[in-house]
């Protein structure tokens, strides 16, 4: 790996060399990849780790006595240990491999929720949640006769503290909150929100999909009960993610999916379940994905997440300055605490038309509702254009976006 960062400035050129896709052209232009909130690109180290699994040690985990199975199991569990350190958890057993944030939230809603939520109980979420942190709770509440409450946000896209406090009460069983909004960029004061939830007697789940690529997360410092993340948004592979849960909660929770690996013994009359985390990992897991995620974390450790976050903060403020100068452009989401995402609309030009024309310039960004339809409703727009940054993005790419937007306005404005 070439990108050993020294000092206090991120060596972005070196980092870009680690990501093979960044050298490619799109529609005759160098790729300007600004869709990192959807998925990040992968460094060679992650690609090599996945490839290495299939070329060298491919086999199933936790069951074979042969050499390859032992090696695969070791690599898989090493990855679990890396995730545990990455999230600051106390024990490897608190790290459950899932497909991603969506599956992690569903696991908690279906396992913990079904066992602990009843008629009259409340689940509290915020108005800026991704659909993946709305729908599983809606389904649970419908099943159990519970009520889904929503903490409102202000015009800047921040949770209104007084309203949040007022919604917490003795009926609140769990608060599910996003750490960093994927459509607004807002970074929530989750530590404080968790503390308030606990005072009210509620558990907490934090959706860390966007946050973990941009800031150090320590689940014990946050004191959250559950934290979920996806591998592919933190330079790792798709199809792998993590649910962190406090050990005593996980141990008390019933299994979610039944099958192999999650049992100790099976007869036709009854089965006894394996200990955590295996109780929640029925079936052959995404072994290569977990190993790839472990490689992504090792890569990030080498780069330094704080340096990366600082670089991205610089890009965000530069982009905010450059885009604010464009007439008729309105930024959606102006929270004081914001990271790596800039969402906007341009008067009378639909985001999809903007996206298509920018694509012609080799600029990849996201247009649409970003799986946060309630956020779009809150701001009275059908869709936005969203540029989202990763550590390999540059100011020149922000400039390319501004030039591209100039062309869009020339054609469609």
């Amino acid at each position: 790996m070439s990108s050993v960062s020294e000092g206090t400035i991120l060596d972005v050129r070196a980092i870009r060399r680690d990501f093979p896709i960044l050298t490619r052209q799109v529609h005759g232009h160098p790729l300007v990849y600004l869709d990192n909130a959807a998925t990040t690109q992968k460094p060679q180290a992650v690609i090599d780790a996945e490839l290495g699994f299939y070329r060298e040690i491919c086999s199933n985990v936790h069951r074979g006595v042969h050499e390859l199975s032992g090696r695969a199991t070791e690599a898989f569990e090493t990855a679990r240990g890396r995730v545990r350190r990455f999230l600051g958890a106390a024990d490897d057993h608190e790290i459950i491999f899932v497909r991603g944030v969506t599956e992690g939230v569903n696991l908690v809603a279906q396992s913990w929720g079904r066992a602990n939520v009843g008629p009259g109980d409340e689940i509290l979420i915020t108005a800026m949640e991704h659909h993946s942190n709305i729908v599983p709770w809606q389904m649970l509440c419908q099943d159990k006769g519970a009520t889904l409450k929503v903490a409102p946000i202000n015009d800047a896209g921040e949770v209104i503290p007084e309203a949040y406090a007022a919604l917490l009460g003795p009926k609140t069983r769990l608060v599910a909150m996003v750490h960093q909004s994927n459509s607004l960029g807002t970074v929530n004061p989750v530590r404080k929100m968790i503390e308030m939830a606990h005072v009210a007697g509620a558990l907490t789940l934090v959706d860390g999909a966007q946050a973990v690529a941009h800031r150090n997360v320590d689940v014990r410092d946050l004191a959250t009960d559950f934290y979920v993340m996806s591998g592919h948004k933190v330079y790792g592979p798709t199809g792998i993610g993590v649910l962190y849960g406090r050990a005593e909660l996980l141990e008390a929770m019933p299994p979610w999916q039944g099958g192999g690996d999650m049992i100790l013994s099976v007869t036709f009359e009854r089965s006894t379940y394996n200990q955590v985390p295996f109780k929640f990992e029925a079936g052959t897991p995404n072994v290569a994905g977990a190993i790839g995620l472990g490689a992504a974390i090792a890569y990030l450790d080498q780069v330094g997440l704080e340096l990366a976050g600082a670089h991205e903060a610089g890009l965000l403020s530069y982009a905010t300055e450059v885009l604010t100068a464009i007439p008729d452009l309105r930024i959606i989401g102006t929270a004081r605490e914001k990271a790596s995402v800039i969402s906007f609309v341009v008067d009378d030009i639909h985001p999809h038309d903007i996206g298509t024309i920018l694509d012609g310039e080799g600029i990849a960004l996201r247009t649409g509702h970003h799986c946060t339809q309630p956020v779009m409703d809150r701001f009275g727009v059908a869709a936005t254009v969203r540029a989202s940054f990763a550590m390999y993005n540059t100011r020149e790419e922000v400039d390319a976006l501004a030039v591209g937007l100039g062309k869009v306005i020339e054609v469609l404005g």
Partner: protein
């Protein structure tokens, strides 16, 4: 801009996108339907006045991109005076034009009049639904006598 983009955003499409024709509501329509594209949030509310099997009047409202707005606007102009069966046939031809195979598209290109400007959409699979949303909505309105919301997903 690439030639493909120029083909997609032709002047006539931009014009209808900015100044859609028949963009209004209609009192007492005989047929109506709503179309929705959940991927992008585009919505179209379509109303028709059909008398003796002939489409007398068409109006639409809603929100969408340049492609979907232009498609709806130009459709309302094309439908006036057509028999219901002819309108359904035209809807099928537009589908073939923007998302059929090359032979299908070539076969209908001369038969759709001004709507041939939408053939550039073929190069943008992600945008096909923008062009066809209103035509799906039309089929729903005519086939079901209206009162239906259709979705592209």
């Amino acid at each position: 801009m690439t030639p493909e983009l120029r083909e997609l955003y032709q002047e006539v499409i931009l014009d209808h996108g900015k100044r859609p024709r028949n963009f209004r509501t209609m009192a007492g329509p005989t047929h109506h339907a709503d179309g929705f594209n959940p991927l992008c949030g585009d919505k179209v509310h379509l109303k028709l006045m059909v008398k003796d099997g002939i489409i007398q009047e068409v109006a639409f409202q809603g929100q969408g991109c340049a492609i979907s707005t232009a498609s709806a606007s130009m459709m309302t102009q094309m439908l006036k005076g057509l028999e219901v069966a002819e309108a359904t046939e035209l809807a099928e031809k537009v589908r073939a034009l923007v998302s059929g195979n090359d032979d299908e598209a070539a076969a209908v290109r001369e038969q759709v009049g001004k709507l041939s400007v939408f053939s550039g959409v073929r190069d943008y699979p992600a945008r096909v639904k923008c062009a066809t949303l209103v035509w799906h909505t039309l089929k729903s309105a005519l086939n079901n006598g209206g009162n239906k919301t259709i979705s592209t997903e």
